[in-house]
Symmetry: C2
């Protein structure tokens, strides 16, 4: 959630936070989503369950953050071109979806989202919000450079980028080539650029 202002005075210990995130990713990769529990994560991270529940409402939120927001703290790409910036964002998605934790987490996470309408309703507004913020800044710079029009639909482009990577790696199970992020970025950038 790199785009949010830093929360001042939050009593969160960054070492516990990092330990919880690492323990979650490791447990999911080793045991699968179903067998991963808040109690198991707490034990592995050396914290109390309450510490986890103060920060995450439940397992889906915790696993999503541990597995699918690994690049949210990275600097927002500013390569000078839309294609370059999208390549960097896509490379992050490729690495996330190609991780053992992602392969282990996805089916159970999708089932939990699908089974709980209140959780599903928060995918766009909560779970995808940090990625959208990053893409919005990339788009703003591309508008200033005259590459794309103001009002280019950021939600639909985000769904296309994430959906392509999810389908290719997470669903079909392709091993990503080094060129994958660049090839997808080239297609999408060209597809939305003013010409």
């Amino acid at each position: 959630m790199s785009s949010s202002p830093p929360s001042k005075g939050r009593p969160r210990d960054p070492r516990s936070h990092e330990a919880i995130i690492s323990a979650t990713a490791a447990l999911v990769a080793e045991m699968g989503y179903a067998a991963t529990s808040i109690g198991g994560v707490a034990a592995r991270a050396g914290v109390g369950k309450d510490t986890i529940y103060r920060r995450w409402p439940g397992k889906p939120e915790l696993v999503f953050e541990a597995v699918f927001t690994t690049t949210d703290q990275a600097p927002i790409p500013d390569t000078g071109t839309l294609t370059g910036d999208l390549t960097v964002l896509l490379q992050g998605l490729v690495e996330e979806f190609h991780s053992p934790a992602a392969a282990a987490a996805l089916p159970g996470l999708l089932a939990d989202f699908a089974a709980d309408p209140s959780l599903k309703a928060r995918i766009r507004s909560d779970f995808l919000a940090p990625s959208k913020e990053r893409l919005l800044i990339v788009f703003e710079r591309a508008v200033l450079r005259g590459e794309i029009a103001a009002g280019t639909p950021v939600d639909l482009v985000l769904d296309t980028l994430a959906g392509a990577v999810f389908f290719h790696i997470g669903l079909v199970g392709e091993h990503p080539t080094p060129q994958l992020a660049g090839r997808l970025a080239t297609v999408i950038a060209k597809g939305i650029e003013i010409r």
Copy 2:
């Protein structure tokens, strides 16, 4: 090659086939993927379980065909432009992913694919083959019109089209607008066209 006892030399009855497909889609939409069984489909379709097992190895194959190949028998679009053809293909995907049967089938189907490496290994070669064939013909015509280069990567474009629709409708749960297929088609066509 089926290991079931041979039938009495009767060719496959297209009415049974259609009845089985309809019963499967209806059962999945009503009861969910987990509660749908080959026995339940057989009873609803008025056929024996053997009749189903002669055609489909198991529930994932049957449900996939019932829910996600509804447009495979439609004429391959030939509108005169790549954007037009992709719009037709995408409209079919939008309708499939927006169906009640798809929403009910997806989490369980994805879990079955993920849990069975031999099933997952057949996604590209078997499950996606008819869609790829259709896209290949659309691409061949676009190459002849000079819109795209020969060798445009059909697998990656198919993953992008299907992934975008899956993510937008199946995962995020967006209600598709009438413009969705055309907007996605315009982006992808422009993204792969020669300019």
